[in-house]
Amino acid sequence: MIETRDLNKIYRTEEVETTALNGVNITINDGEFVAVMGPSGCGKSTLLNIMGLLDSPTSGEYYFMGNEISGYTEKQRAQLRKGNIGFIFQSFNLIDELTVFENVELPLLYLGLDTAVRTSKVEQTLDRMGMIHRRNHFPQQLSGGQQQRVAIARAVVADAKLILADEPTGNLDSDHGDEVMKLLTELNKSGTTIVMVTHSPHDAKYAGRLINLFDGKVVTEGQEEAFHV
């Protein structure tokens, strides 16, 4: 699914030059559940954004589903992203002006699907996330855990092959966090590849593999058990 070769990302501002990623080589296979950990500022989010085609690397090669994308235009990346990648954020990022249903429907709109298809898909997904009874609520009317479940529904509604989650439990208490992790595990079991950034060793346990970043470099990589002494 994903392969990076010598991936570098350098942020240049007027004063400083920050190397956020420094020669990252990662391979993630279809159906994997990978957790990315590391201290704050080590480049986790940067890596996730590049994987999700939201950002492009400064140098290095990135293969997504067999396509080398470092030379892609913004529009080409958007094209590839649609329907293939779903995002889950720490701060949920739902659109306040849209209802639960409409938020989840959004990716399908950009895919240009029919109303009937959209409705059935959205309802199915909301049902799976246990949010169908809230379909006409606005995000502000929901608890954090509920909002994150809507966000997950939105990430998977278009049958994304890859889900990228940046600290999905960061804003949730442990009960709600566990709920979210269970949902992700289920998704993974049904075949979705998941890459998740987390600060919580507890959450990382749900993943099948752990990548540790430090200062933009992959320091250790391996099966989850190996790091859980």
Binding site: S45, N49, G52, L54, D55, E74, K75, A78, Q79, R81, K82, G83, F87, F89, S91, N93, I95, D96, E97, L98, E102, E105, L106, P107, L109, Y110, L111, G112, R154
Partner: protein
């Protein structure tokens, strides 16, 4: 997808009701103003285009030039029309003349019913009238209605006025007590959108009958009382025809015996549709308007629309900060940049659409008021004119694109990674752009306000300027070729018996009015050049007294000197420059010669010198003037146009009644009519007056709209700074500190806007003021205007900004911090 866009657009509008209200109200007011002005300007530009052949109808006008003068006149000699038809049969299909006997009004009497009125819009015209002009004849035959002598065609309204519900055809109306005319046709009311006003038309052939005693009446090329119109052939080039017509000057004008040697004539063709806005000659049928004013109004409309659009832009970009998350997410979901641009442009279109609908409603509501202001009867509806709806749609699209494109590109260019991280785009982004726009907006408002103030002051100056004579409490009675001329002395004597009536005099033209009359009165010793002429004013006794003129030297005309009418003249101070004298006293006794068109020159002595007064309107400078006394019925009939009555201050109604009763006794034919001199003189500045009131309204509106924008922006800025305010307050800042902090940035912009507007308005208004030889004291008043408008706008802006500043400064800091 569209549904999704519309949904989010509506919810955004509803969620921020305050902003939406400001956005839409401002835009609606701006659009309404624009629509009103465009309707007005289109109406002004449509003058005379209702004639089917309007593109082929031209008026021929003449300009006579000599060494010291250049007279642009709208009228031509009698013979020009037949000569043109004869000389250019291929190019000129037909021509039509209009003649009003050079009278301001004409008495018509329905003897049967004893109804009489004075009519101002009456002309003698050729039988070809209906071939050229497009007005429907309701009754009568257009081919013959104006053929026979003493035929009369009147409008529907006039027919009702004189004959009620009876059929007017074949009925008689008596014209000025001299002829009975027979009604041969009734036509539709003459449209308002014409440079002519027509209520009654008599056949041109009537003149042969009326002037039967002087059959040469129409042969002079020196006398030019006729408005001449030609209808040209479809493939005739008007410019070419004009050069051909110019050739007539040599052949007819200069060849005419008595044509002054150094005087040349220029003949021009004016498209009939250009007359209303582009012609300002002597002897126009009506006072025309001017393209300057329609252009000023269009500029104002543009300004106001821009100001309103800027509000929209500013508020949308400011609000965009709140929508950046939506943008980021849409991009994450795979939305393309173009899709987002379309979405925001679409929203902008949606808002514009609401605004234009509201705007149209505002137009309908304000139209009566606007009509009152402009003296028009404009109408507004969407369907009578096929262009209205497409034009409105185009306007909506323009506004949507103009005000929506920047926010659209600005919003759609957000980088999703940074947006979703909640950083990258600070509340500072687009700030400079917003500041520039606000400054620009207020510069325009200041410009409009200063322009308005200058127009206002100039008009006030003109109205209050000392004309050198007393224009107050003077009654004007039209008395040209009036029956009262036979009883002039007894009319005067009897009228003066009323204690309120102080003086009465006959005048050849109204002092201070536009008309200028030149006669060949020349000082002796300047050679008896016949081409020398001067302004002259014919008056009867007591002129100097009625108008309270100041005598510098010598005396006024007096009955004690019976030879005054034949030998004496008065001159004004300016005339001294044409005499070889050093003082007014020295000029007394100087000799002038008058050269009549035929016969020997006549000799006159100067018996008095009077202070300069404004013989013409304030649009012209004071020139040397000769005042000549007229006496006796023949002279009064020939020269006196108005009778001026000076009434003592106070309620004039008793005095007016007194004069009226005497008038009716002495003059059974002409109805009694009067008006006040000051009101008559105010009319000269009618178009300026109209522009002044329009400009005032629009300048105020522009400020309202700009302030609406400021209100929105300041509220937004206060909202963004809630956390900062909370922190500052918790650190001990007072409410005043906070208000100052929040208001400062905007007030600096408003001050800057004033500084930018000052030089622009200085040069702009200077250009307009060049039209007036007499101007208010700019050196003193302009700085005052600048400072005053600046202060007013700053004050309004301050009040606007403080509203939100104070509101947020009062908020409990804990709440403010938590609200972030």
């Amino acid at each position: 997808m569209l549904k999704n866009y519309i949904k989010i657009a509506i919810r955004n509008l509803l969620k921020k009701k305050g902003y939406s209200l400001i956005n839409i109200t401002g835009l609606a007011i701006g659009l309404a103003t624009c629509i009103l002005i465009i309707t007005y300007v289109l109406n002004e530009r449509s003058y005379d285009s209702f004639h089917d052949k309007s593109d082929r109808i031209y008026r021929i006008v003449q300009t006579t030039e000599s060494a010291d003068r250049n007279e642009k006149q709208a009228t031509t000699p009698f013979e020009l029309s037949p000569v043109i038809e004869e000389e250019f049969p291929g190019s000129v299909l037909t021509s039509v003349r209009f003649f009003d006997m050079q009278l301001e009004s004409h008495t018509f009497v329905n003897r049967e019913d004893g109804i009489s009125f004075r009519e101002e819009n009456f002309y003698f015209t050729d039988s070809t009238f209906f071939d050229m002009f497009s007005v429907d004849l309701i009754q009568g035959d257009p081919k013959t209605a104006l053929r026979d002598p003493l035929s009369l065609v009147l409008t529907k309204d006039l027919a009702t006025k004189y004959f009620g519900n009876e059929n007017p055809i074949g009925k008689a109306l008596n014209y000025r007590g001299i002829r009975n005319m027979t009604v041969t046709g009734v036509m539709e009311n003459w449209p308002e959108t014409s440079h002519m006003k027509i209520d009654l038309l008599a056949s041109f052939s009537s003149l042969d009958d009326i002037y039967a005693s002087s059959p040469d009446y129409n042969s002079s090329w020196l006398w030019n009382p006729i408005w001449t119109y030609v209808l040209i052939n479809e493939n005739t080039n008007p410019a070419q025809l004009e050069t051909q017509v110019q050739g007539l000057a040599e052949k007819y004008y200069y060849a005419y015996s008595g044509w002054p040697e150094d005087e040349s004539v220029k003949l021009e063709l004016q498209p009939i549709t250009d007359i209303h806005l582009h012609s300002n000659r002597d002897q126009e049928m009506q006072v025309n308007s001017s393209a300057i004013y329609t252009n000023i109004l269009l500029a104002v409309a543009g300004f106001i629309l821009i100001i309103a659009c800027i509000n929209f832009m500013n508020l949308s970009t400011a609000r965009s900060l709140e929508r950046r998350r939506e943008v980021g997410l849409r991009k994450v979901m795979g939305g393309y940049k173009e899709q987002l641009i379309y979405q925001f442009l679409g929203e902008s279109f949606f808002v514009s659409l609401i605004a234009i609908i509201l705007g149209c409603i505002l137009v309908v509501l304000s139209l009566p008021f606007f009509n009152e202001l402009t003296g028009k009867t404009l109408t507004f509806d969407l369907f009578t004119n096929a262009y209205t709806l497409p034009a409105l749609l185009a306007l909506t699209l323009f506004v949507a694109f103009f005000s929506g494109s920047y926010p659209a590109f600005f919003l759609s260019s957000f980088n999703p990674v940074q947006v979703l991280k909640g950083s990258g785009i600070s509340s500072r982004s687009g700030v400079l752009f917003r500041k520039i726009l606000v400054t620009f907006q207020f510069s325009l408002s200041v410009l409009l306000l200063i322009g308005t103030a200058v127009i206002f002051l100039q008009l006030k100056f003109i109205q209050e300027k000392d004309l050198g004579f007393d224009k107050n409490n003077v009654l004007l009675l039209p008395t040209k070729q009036n029956l009262i001329s036979w009883e002039y002395d007894s009319f005067k004597q009897q009228s003066l018996s009323h204690s309120q009536i102080q003086n009465i005099t006959g005048i050849g033209k109204i002092p201070g009015s536009e008309v200028q009359e030149y006669y060949r009165y020349v000082p002796a010793g300047t050679g008896d050049s016949e081409d020398n002429t001067n302004l002259a004013l014919h008056v009867t006794h007591d002129f100097v007294e009625t108008f309270d003129l100041n005598i510098l030297a010598g005396r006024s005309f007096s009955r004690e000197f019976p030879s005054d009418p034949e030998q004496s003249i008065l001159i004004n101070e300016s005339m001294l420059t044409k005499l070889d004298v050093t003082s007014a006293e020295e000029a007394i006794g100087s000799t002038f010669y008058f050269y009549p068109p035929v016969g020997e020159r006549e000799r006159f002595n100067v018996v008095g010198v009077i202070d300069d007064f404004n013989y013409s309107s304030l649009k012209k400078e004071i020139e040397p003037l000769v005042i000549k006394l007229v006496e006796g019925t023949q002279e009064i009939l020939g020269y006196v146009v108005h009778t001026a009555v000076e009434i003592s201050p106070g309620d004039p109604s008793a005095a007016i009644q007194h004069i009226e009763s005497i008038w009716k006794e002495l003059n059974p034919i002409d109805p009694f009519e009067y008006r006040f001199l000051d009101e008559r003189l105010d009319e000269i500045y009618e178009s300026e007056q109209k522009i002044s009131s329009l400009a005032t309204v629009f300048a105020l509106l522009s400020i309202v709209i700009a302030c609406l924008g400021l209100l929105g922006l300041s509220s937004y800025s206060a909202h963004l700074k809630q956390k900062e305010i909370g922190i500052r307050k918790s650190l001990g800042a007072s409410v005043t500190d906070i208000v100052r902090l929040l208001s400062k940035e905007f007030l600096i912009l408003v001050i800057l806007a004033n500084l930018i507007a000052w030089p622009l308005s200085y040069f702009g208004t200077l250009k307009w003021l060049e039209n007036f030889p007499y101007r208010f004291d700019m050196a003193t008043y302009l700085p005052v205007i600048f400072i005053a408008t600046g202060a007013i706008i700053l004050f309004i802006a301050m009040v606007t900004v403080s509203y939100h500043s104070i509101k947020s400064a009062m908020i409990n800091p804990v709440q403010a911090i938590r609200n972030e």
